[in-house]
């Protein structure tokens, strides 16, 4: 068991509690449900786990139209009909027209894979319920060919959710759960350092200062998160903005290249208004 412990990678900082959650899920072969603010690296986590443990990575991205059945398999009736018109021999075996889905792929994998079910809350309300048995027993039945597909090993399943829908209790009971907390300043510094090792210390601290200040602004519709901070720092470095610009500007105007941090015009207006008011108070 010791080789399959996840301790983070050189590109991804994991907190102790997240490490525990991943390892518990891996050891017991239960799905891990990860929630958290957008941009805190939920999707990234699965990729990093796959890489760290050296496992194949299978991603199943959920959209509102996806049905649970599509993750298992689909029966391509149309091409079978078409083939029957053309008199192809393969038409007699229905198995030729069963298209495996992502879950099947994960079950059939030679080595234990990491399966990411991304943004499960985007799907229909019934979606998680339809997967209960499959995730529990790690097997399902193909009606067309009357065969049972069983997982060779229980895949490591990581499920992300943005909290747009409440997930059913029966589903939650079968998962481990982890809420990715927004990183504190120290962890954030570690994360940025990992992504931009050559970053000047002063620029980093000024940028973090400005970033957390913006996050503190009450009433923002979308508070900037880790991925936005990383984008912003990338821009700052690319444009060669001196650290002083960040500090001086904080008091007078909106920070440079704010477009990377504030993502809608109401937030920009709000921020400008607050700055305006604080300036007037000072004058």
């Amino acid at each position: 068991m010791s080789e399959s412990r996840f301790r983070g990678t050189d590109r991804y900082v994991v907190t102790d509690d997240l490490m525990m959650a991943v390892n518990a899920a891996v050891t017991l072969g239960r799905p891990l449900l990860v929630k958290g603010e957008p941009g805190t690296g939920k999707t990234q986590l699965a990729e990093e786990v796959a890489q760290a443990l050296n496992r194949p990575f299978i991603q199943w991205h959920i959209k509102s139209t996806i049905k649970a059945q599509q993750g298992l398999y689909e029966y391509d009736a149309v091409s079978r009909l078409r083939d029957s018109q053309l008199g192809e021999a393969r038409v007699h075996d229905i198995g030729n027209y069963i298209v495996p889905g992502k879950l099947w792929e994960a079950f059939a994998s030679e080595t234990q894979p990491v399966l990411l079910i991304d943004e499960i809350d985007k799907a229909d309300i019934e979606f998680p319920n339809d997967l209960l048995l499959e995730l529990d027993r790690m097997e399902f039945y193909v009606y067309e060919t009357r065969q049972v597909i069983k997982a060779r090993q229980r895949p490591i399943i990581i499920i992300t959710s943005n909290n747009e829908k409440e997930l059913p209790d029966a589903f939650l009971r079968r998962c481990f759960f982890h809420y990715i907390r927004f990183p504190d300043k120290e962890t954030m510094e570690q994360i940025v350092r990992m992504h931009y090792p050559g970053l000047k210390k002063r620029l980093l601290s000024e940028a973090l200062e400005a970033f957390f200040e913006i996050r503190e602004v009450p009433g923002l519709r979308k508070r900037p998160s880790t991925s936005e901070l990383l984008d912003w720092i990338k821009l700052l470095v690319a444009e060669d903005i001196p650290p002083e610009a960040l500090r001086g500007d904080q008091r007078k105007s909106i920070p440079p290249l704010y477009g990377a941090l504030l993502k809608n015009e109401q937030d920009v207006h709000l921020f400008e208004r607050l700055l305006f008011m604080s300036r007037r108070k000072k004058d």
């Binding site: 525990m20 518990a24 009736a77 149309v78 078409r82 747009e164 209790d169 481990f176 809420y179």
Partner: protein, 395 residues
């Protein structure tokens, strides 16, 4: 010890089930954790708590249940709350009078002792540890309502990080029950109110029909398409505007914008306090461009679902008497009109932005509620969900 913990969690209102508890035990027997109480805490949390809103409650129960346990672990041996912090803080914030009060209680040490005892007494009965401090206005602690947890929030958490047990930091406190009421949540709630129907351009393959017509076509493939399923529910939204509704503008705006993007067939009208013979679509030109309520009654069929939004807070005359309206002379009373609406659109609810506990004090709310035959719900997420469920049921 573990079983007790399980029941304490359930008592604290965290929906832990036996399955989850067994999972935790299984994880323990598989040695997922080393012998480290911190890791055990993380493991228990990830296995038992499935909603970040419950993290805080979990932290409290964990803290009280495994209080003695921590001291058995070397690394956490020094983890009790340093009394110096409290002293320091007290010096900073207490006035001279307060200090005298402390002396009267028998000195600081005595106070803290009593305090700790109170905390322990309290454990069984309350859920949110902060409540107790809040209501302790008359107890000696009220005056300087510090509980160790309040002191431990310290801004420079990194300095104290080592000293404070993780669960006692209670970082998830503000997640408890502070569900943001953004439009997104409302949209999701409204989404329950849907009825799919196939309309518009045929884009999906209709398998059954294709097989049938292919067979009829002597085996030659004949593809049949059907339109995609769309939400075909029709909604009529009547919004109270102006006057006492000004306080609730934001909640109404959110509901309105969510409803607008969620329903294809949405008609909305404004009214003031109570529905009378006229409605309007634009508040600025409400006198110039009025729609006859009768016309609305005739235009929209009974398949529309009616949602009235208003605080129903007005003088009872506005409901029951002709000419009772505050704005104009209405030949017919409000209740007559409301009854007419309900006959035309039997699927109706009233959403009220006033807090529900205040409803019973306002006579007009009572009257409207009776007219709606109790189908009045508070304009909160929960109320909205209940209301939507009612609308679905009476379909």
């Amino acid at each position: 010890m573990m079983t007790d913990f399980f029941f304490k969690l359930r008592k604290a209102g965290i929906p832990v089930t036996l399955t989850e508890f067994l999972t935790l035990l299984e994880a323990l027997s598989q040695r997922v954790t080393a012998h480290n109480v911190e890791e055990f805490y993380y493991l228990a949390r990830t296995a038992l708590v499935k909603d970040e809103r419950h993290y805080d409650r979990f932290d409290q129960v964990f803290g009280s249940h495994f209080k003695g346990l921590a001291t058995r672990f070397d690394e956490l041996a020094g983890a009790t709350v340093p009394l110096e912090w409290l002293h320091k803080l007290a010096e900073l914030t207490l006035s001279d009078e307060d200090k005298q009060l402390i002396e009267a209680m028998g000195g600081w040490e005595k106070l803290m002792e009593t305090f700790a005892q109170r905390m322990a007494d309290q454990e069984g009965r309350h859920q949110g540890g902060n409540k107790w401090i809040g209501t302790a206005g008359t107890s000696p602690f009220g005056a300087y309502g510090y509980n160790p947890e309040g002191i431990r929030i310290g801004q420079d958490a990194s300095r104290h990080r080592r000293a404070v047990k993780v669960w006692d930091r209670r970082e998830f406190r503000n997640l408890d029950d502070t569900v943001e009421l953004g439009t997104r949540n409302i949209k999701v709630a409204l989404r329950r109110l849907r009825r799919f129907a196939r309309e518009g351009a045929a884009q999906e393959l209709d398998l059954d029909d294709t097989i049938r017509s292919t067979a009829r076509n002597a085996g030659y493939l004949d593809l049949k398409m059907v339109p995609e399923r769309h939400n075909a529910v029709k909604v009529l939204l009547f919004l109270d505007a102006g006057g006492s509704m000004d306080d609730h503008v934001q909640a109404c705006e959110e509901l309105f914008s969510a409803a607008r993007s969620e329903f294809k067939h949405l008609e909305y009208f404004y009214f003031h306090n109570m529905v009378y013979e006229g409605l309007w679509k634009d508040n600025r030109r409400r006198y110039a461009e009025k729609t006859d309520t009768l016309m609305a009654l005739r235009t929209f069929g009974p398949d529309y679902k009616l949602i009235l939004v208003g605080d129903a807070t007005m003088s009872p005359y506005e409901v029951t008497y002709p000419g009772g309206s505050v704005e104009h002379f209405n030949p017919e009373a409000g209740d007559v009109w409301l009854k007419r609406l309900l006959t035309a659109w039997p699927h109706a609810i009233w959403l009220n932005p006033q807090p529900q506990n205040r409803w019973s004090y306002v006579p007009s709310i009572q009257m409207v509620r009776e007219l709606m035959s109790e189908r009045m719900y508070p304009l909160t997420l929960e109320g909205l969900e209940q209301g939507i469920r009612t609308l679905q049921r009476t379909r």
